[in-house]
């Protein structure tokens, strides 16, 4: 697919689903409440916006009172904060990190640079729109957003999680072909990650009509299946 065709794809929001059993709904609400109150945040300092996070995390603005703490490992983190412009070299790592995180996972794009390229709109080295490569739950615009704005954004995310509306991670499985297409457009057709996204989509029963397509075909043709590493002592 050409890039112009990819641009026309519209990703629809996934609404909060109500189940028929009223008890199941109460359970869902309870789970959403608990999830929103204890989040680990993996902040990958991708750009200059990272400099406003220490004030937001430490004594003055104190993110911890919202139940949000920094976490060093992507496997245990719930929120991926993208703090600013992502250069193409970084974007590869960000995608690897994103795919390693366990669902449900939430992505926040801080800074104007993640929305539309910001002041590096004509730079040859940065990726312009973050949500072409993986879904984003919330943007906090500004160059750079103040710590108050970061806290406000996190509170909005908490509201969304509580209402079970922060479902962007499901979109990644449902529209994997689109996201993969954009990634291939940037990194070349040899691009592959160690995570088996298609397999995960099938396991979670989230595979939809847009999960597989021509880009996943390219992926499957170039993919070398990962072998378990030999154990040696």
């Amino acid at each position: 697919m050409k890039k112009s065709d990819l641009d026309k794809v519209k990703i629809k929001q996934i609404p909060a689903q109500k189940r028929t059993n009223p008890f199941a709904n109460v359970f869902d609400e309870f789970v959403g409440f608990c999830r929103s109150r204890s989040m680990f945040m993996l902040h990958y300092c991708t750009g200059c916006g990272a400099i406003e996070l220490p004030p937001a995390m430490t004594s003055r603005f104190d993110m911890e009172r919202l139940g949000i703490q920094p976490m060093v490992s992507p496997r245990q983190a719930d929120i991926l904060l993208i703090t600013g412009y992502v250069s193409i070299k970084t974007l590869k790592r960000v995608i690897l990190t994103y795919e390693q995180m366990a669902a449900p996972k939430y992505v926040i794009g801080i800074c104007s640079c993640t929305v539309n390229g910001g002041m590096y709109w004509q730079s040859y080295a940065t990726a312009k729109k973050l949500d072409e490569y993986f879904p984003v739950d919330l943007y906090i615009a500004g160059c750079m957003p103040r710590p108050e704005a970061v806290i406000e954004g996190l509170q909005q995310l908490m509201q969304k999680i509580k209402a079970n509306e922060a479902n962007s991670w499901k979109q990644y499985y449902k529209n994997y072909d689109y996201f993969l297409g954009n990634q291939q457009h940037l990194f070349g057709n040899n691009w592959q990650t160690p995570t088996d996204v298609i397999g995960e989509a099938e396991t979670y029963q989230l595979a939809g009509p847009n999960t597989l397509g021509e880009h996943t075909k390219i992926l499957q043709s170039v993919q070398t299946p990962l072998k378990p590493l030999e154990m040696k002592l």
Partner: protein, 380 residues
Amino acid sequence: MRPENYQAVNHPPSHEFELNFGPNHPGIEGNFALKVKLQGDIVVEARTDAGYLHRGFEKLMEDRLWIQNIALVPRICVPDPVPMEVCYSLAVEDLANIEVPERAQWIRVLQLELSRIAAHLFFFGGHAATTGMYTPMYWGVADRDLLLDLFEELTGGRIYSIYNLPGGVRQDVPEGFLQRVSDTLDYIDGRLKDYDNLFFTNQIFVKRARGVGTINQQQALDWSVTGPNLRACGLEFDVRRDDPYLIYPQLDFDIPTEQAGDALARTLVRRLEMVESIRIIRQVIKALPDIKGPLRTPIPNPLAWRVPAGESYARVESSKGEVAYYVVSNGGEKPYRVHIRGPSAMHAVQVLEKLAVGSRLEDIAQTIFSLDACPPEVDR
């Protein structure tokens, strides 16, 4: 530092393994990576893997008007953005032969020194965290915020001010601002004693930092180390005094040095520099009300400003080291070429690669932080 009962183990060469240190690692500063080869926990080889923050500044700047570039340059070094603005302005002023009014020069010095204190406070925080002490980090960041409030009042932006421009500064200091600066300095001055107890003379830190990443004077000169890292090796060199710019010759300040050249010395130099910066700002506060005059020399229509052809080189002392701009104009509306000489590119690449060899894995983070390199400026 080694435990007292430490015994070296001789590993067979086959035990060498490679470790990726970063880019997403709590022990690394910003978005930056190292590939280290280890034997046991001793580093035998280190290679930096930079480029995660590359935006192509030097190319972007050729594409924008002289005045638009002011908005771009502070992004080069995020923790200490003011020297970038001032240095670019100085280079362009030199090229266009603009005289900066005296009052603007004093205000620039005020900003530069405030920014230096803020950057040093941030540095202590980060460096303390690498030794497992998190209280100084909380303190440093919280005290730095007081300075950011002052920046916000003066310029409108907490971090990026975009307040200096070729010809002068944008606005005058607000009413009562100098009093508030003075109050904040009193507070920080009073806090330094607490910092000493908590961090600078704390044995937990001192024992960890002594002897880590030692540079001697000759090596420092060979590897083009500048700024506080050079002064920590005992060489008293400071651009503010040895190649003065703005009104620094009229100010009275000392240049603190240390002899050891290790992580501890680098930290202590910065601690002493804060005192000097406070001294400088106090002098500015005293002198500024009596200096009258305009705030900037008007430049012709900024959107079609053609800077005369030629080239210029300006350098200033930032909190990390020497920052310099080499600007070439061919008489057009945009720069023909801008080259940025940043201190961190040297510190984080060539110096770090050499210092890491032979150290232990857990000391790498401390070496990086004690050099106070700033990754966005390495990559640009």
